[in-house]
């Protein structure tokens, strides 16, 4: 025995050491590669923005002046105007998130867990506004709901009623934002509700808890991560939303942080440095929110998907089946039907000035498809459509892959560097898209890789900007799949890669598909990030619409918006088909 123990270490030490070193190397490689990738994608642009917050000149290639570092830009952050803008942002963000969670949560609950009438249709209702980019929605609502020339009030006056609709105020801004961010809440909460193990509810039920108590004590706590995830996501997205604040809030004189930043960027001369300083204050706020959410979730586990088969129980709504349907339809009307109809009316009307809505239907020549013909005939619009589709599919695919790799490392491994990976992934959420866009422009102008002026830089920008959405989407799905399933495969001799490929990824197929779809939609809809990156050959549909809107060509903007929504619709149907056939 003694000789054996004496011999063994001598014989084994070198391989053990080598093994440990190899293992360490292996452990570090993956996180290091991912971190380097994220640093290039996200940290470099952010660094340039931070730099410009402390600099006296906006950084540009060939103009990196670090000698004039100053805190002057931050003086602006504490001025009365920006404090007011910050308070407005907070009010708008909190109000819009609460309303969006209410709408999305309600729709998710009735479609996932009740026997509401037209359940399948209401599910679509929850998703459909995703096809309407928020600025197209805002465009439509500004046409529909303004005080003097809004279609709603013109129609009311046609009927001899007083026009009472006025969207151009802080409440209107909150409502429009909530309408178009509710689908985020819907998607996340619906996912959690349908994956939930009914055993837990049934156990409570069997032990005599009444329905309300089961809901409060079991169901709601189980969807907490999804709910909080949605809340943080929507809060941050609404706070940093630029186009809606600009279109609705701009007309109302309600200044928010993003419009304030935009204004600083757009004043003559450009005050990009102060804008960057304001942006950094915004970043700080958002980081605190994300950190709080992590703390709240860290204390508990929320595993709800296990190896056992399950089918969530549906609750009988009884007399509430119809009211629930009507509430859902009301949302459908406000978020999709009325806006689309108003865009169509404006695009088809023969003049940009609309004196009567109902009267127009009596006149034979009140409508013309000229605006649509203009758009369909335009080579710019055709090329922009192709560009948008190519860029979005590529960005969604690469984005989902990267998000999966990062989320897996963060959630499932004990590899070093997990925390930084998560923080860097979530960082773009805290950078207003308009500032991130500038940072990305500077980065890829300086970078020796010649991608500027190609569609590749758009793909890079979208992957960077949408990393948080991709990461959160994949991570919340991973969090719900019991890790024992994958570990069992490894125990039975499968390699980790094989276990991921054959166990975890298939289990996550729904989660990954919906992340891919989410990224696809976000890319198709994105306006602010590519605003600084496009060149004449790489214009996207969103840019073309914004250009027309910016140049006051509202009818063509409306026509393009509608065709744009059709492209998004077609794309989403195609990808759902594709996703569905994959599942079979």
């Amino acid at each position: 025995m003694t000789s054996q123990t004496a011999e063994k270490p001598v014989r084994n030490r070198p391989p053990a050491l080598r093994g440990r070193a190899r293992r360490l190397l292996r452990e570090i490689t993956l996180p290091a590669v991912l971190l380097a990738l994220l640093a290039l994608l996200i940290l470099a642009p952010v660094a340039l923005v931070v730099l410009s917050a402390f600099a006296s000149d906006t950084p540009r290639p060939g103009n990196f002046d670090l000698s004039g570092l100053t805190l002057d830009n931050f003086v602006n952050v504490t001025s009365a105007g920006s404090v007011k803008a910050a308070l407005n942002s907070l009010a708008v963000g909190v109000g819009a998130s609460a309303l969006a969670l209410l709408i999305g949560g309600f729709l998710a609950f009735v479609t996932a867990r009740t026997n509401v009438y037209w359940r399948g249709f209401l599910y679509l209702v929850g998703l459909l506004p995703m096809l309407l980019p928020s600025y197209v929605g805002a465009l439509a609502w500004s046409v529909l709901g303004s005080e003097n020339a809004g279609l709603a009030n013109i129609t009311l006056r046609d009927l001899g009623l007083p026009g009472f609709v006025d969207i151009n105020n802080i409440a209107g801004l909150i409502v429009v934002l909530a309408l178009y961010y509710a689908p985020y809440a819907f998607l996340l909460i619906h996912g959690a509700l349908s994956l939930m193990n009914p055993d837990l509810e049934e156990a409570a039920n069997v032990h005599g808890a009444p329905f309300a108590q089961v809901l409060r004590r079991v169901t709601l706590p189980l969807v907490t991560p999804a709910f909080l995830g949605a809340a943080v996501l929507i809060l941050v997205l609404t706070i940093e939303n630029f186009p809606v604040s600009q279109i609705i809030g701009g007309a109302a004189g309600v200044e928010t942080l993003p419009t304030y930043i935009y204004r600083l960027m757009n004043s003559t001369p450009s005050r990009g440095n102060e804008a960057a300083a304001v942006a950094i204050a915004l970043v700080a706020v958002v980081l605190v929110v994300t950190a709080l959410q992590r703390r709240m979730l860290a204390r508990r586990t929320f595993t709800t998907v296990s190896g056992k088969g399950m089918k969530p129980r549906r609750i009988d709504l009884g007399g509430w089946r119809l009211p629930a349907l009507l509430a859902g339809l009301g949302y459908f009307l406000l978020s999709t039907v009325l806006p689309v109809l108003s865009l169509a009316f404006v695009a088809l009307h023969d003049s940009p000035y609309i004196g009567t809505v109902l009267g127009a239907f009596g006149k034979p020549d009140a409508f013309t498809a000229e605006a649509f013909a203009d758009v369909l005939d335009s080579s710019i619009a055709q090329r922009a459509t192709v560009n948008s589709v190519v860029v979005s599919v590529a960005a969604a695919l690469l984005g989902t892959l990267l998000a999966f790799a990062v989320a897996y490392v963060v959630q499932r491994t004990k590899l070093p560097g997990r925390q930084p990976l998560e923080y860097v992934s979530m960082l773009p959420l805290a950078i207003p898209a308009i500032v991130l866009g500038l940072g990305l422009l500077w980065t890829w102008l300086i970078m020796p890789i010649p991608v500027y002026g190609t569609l590749a830089v758009m793909v890079i920008a979208f992957v960077a900007a949408q990393m948080p959405q991709g990461f959160r989407g994949v991570a919340s799905s991973i969090g719900q799949v019991d890790r024992d399933l994958e570990d069992s495969a490894v125990m039975h001799g499968a390699s980790r890669t094989r276990a991921i490929a054959t166990i975890t990824a298939p289990l996550l197929r729904v989660g990954l598909t919906s992340t891919f779809l989410l990224l696809l939609m976000l890319s198709m809809r994105e306006l602010t990030v590519p605003l600084f990156l496009f060149t004449s050959d790489t214009r996207l549909l969103s840019i073309v619409i914004f250009d027309d809107f910016d140049n006051g060509i509202l009818q063509r903007a409306a026509a393009t918006s509608l065709l744009y929504c059709l492209v998004i619709l077609a794309l989403s149907i195609l990808s759902r088909r594709f996703g569905a056939s994959e599942q079979r």
Partner: protein, 365 residues
């Protein structure tokens, strides 16, 4: 509202007629062998330059001018030369940011740049955005002192900043005619104005209002609770739809909107109106340098200057007339009606004026 469409057609017809009358060099698609480009007897490009330009076939045009007015110009140029123009339009401030970044990275994609704002053009020139593009004798003489900074860039026309009202909303007999009329309390909540920092245009308007209309004019104007817009394009749209009844308005923007069927009437106020130049330069790293030089020179030709006049802009040439809007011809350039300050004065006042403006309107940013 058929009238709107007819207007657009008639504008196009007028442009075509002008081109025909001017006998635009006979250098259109028909001339296959090398020919020079002449407009109204003035040499725009010699054989060598013009054939090199046609070889290049197209050019990229970065502009801060309005969509509608630039389209009229580029269409006419393509018609005359067969050279295609790809237009990228951005608000002057965004455009300058873009150009500065691209120049720094030596990736400036613009062949020709047109932009307003003295501070902007000076900054662009300083950053090396332009290359010298020698103009042919006759054009150069006609343009006179419009050529600045040793030929790096030149002024192509003066745009006029006035105001306009929605004639479908404002009842007959109530129309505002002069700047002073806008102070009437009946316009309370129905006025629009673009924020001072929007660009060279608003800077010029503000200087004009302080200096010429009255030092306290804007204070009284602000008391009427106007809606403040970010850009004139957005404001024009709101005015067209009747969200506001009266708004300040760059004339060419209004002309474009009217051609598209907007029920607008542009005012020619007795107190005058502000004029501000749009500068043109050839990009330092122009991908199609020959086409760029031809286009830049052509912008000073009689044909191009006449198009500017039709859009309501004051030309830099003295031999193409004064702009006319609707039935009203604007007073002659030297009549004192058009308030025009030199670049130096503009640069001197731009910051102080903006600060005052923001205080008056309680506007942050």
């Amino acid at each position: 509202m058929k009238a709107g469409r007819t207007d657009r057609k008639s504008l196009a017809t007028a442009v075509a007629a002008v081109l025909a009358l001017a006998g635009c060099g006979g250098s259109g698609g028909g001339a296959s062998e090398a020919a020079k480009l002449e407009v109204g007897g003035e040499l725009i490009a010699d054989e060598q330059l013009f054939s090199a330009a046609k070889e290049e076939g197209s050019l990229v045009f970065y502009t801060g001018g309005s969509e509608h007015s630039e389209k009229a110009v580029t269409d006419a140029f393509t018609e005359a030369t067969g050279i295609e123009v790809e237009t990228i339009r951005l608000a002057p401030n965004k455009l300058s940011e873009r150009v500065l970044s691209e120049v720094g990275a030596k990736k400036l994609g613009a062949d020709v740049i047109r932009i307003s704002g003295e501070d902007i053009i000076v900054a662009l020139a300083k950053a090396g955005s332009f290359q010298k593009a020698p103009l042919q004798g006759a054009v150069k003489t006609a343009a006179g002192d419009a050529i600045e900074d040793d030929g790096l860039y030149f002024s192509s026309f003066d745009r006029v900043y006035s105001f306009a009202f929605n004639n479908a909303v404002v009842p007959k007999g109530q129309e505002p005619k002069n700047w002073a009329d806008l102070l009437d309390p009946k316009w309370r909540g129905k006025l629009g104005i673009v924020q001072v920092g929007a660009g060279g245009s608003t800077a010029a308007l503000t200087r004009f209002q302080f200096d010429k209309v009255g030092d306290d004019y804007l204070k009284k104007f602000a008391a009427n609770k106007p809606r403040i817009f970010d850009s004139s394009a957005g404001q024009t749209d709101a005015l067209t739809r009747g969200e506001v009844s009266v708004a300040t308005m760059p004339v060419a923007t209004g002309v474009g909107a009217i051609a598209d069927g907007a029920p607008l009437t542009i005012a020619v106020p007795e107190e005058g109106a502000a004029g501000y130049p749009f500068y043109v330069g050839v990009g330092a790293q122009a991908p199609s340098p020959n086409a760029a030089k031809v286009f830049a020179s052509w912008l000073l030709s009689k044909d191009a200057q006449k198009i500017a006049v039709q859009q309501g802009d004051y030309p830099v040439r003295a031999d193409v007339g004064t702009p006319k809007v609707g039935d009203t011809t604007f007073p002659a350039a030297d009549s004192g009606w058009l308030y025009r300050i030199d670049a130096e004065t503009a640069l001197e006042h731009v910051e102080e004026d903006a600060k005052r403006w923001r205080q008056i309107f309680g506007y942050t940013g």
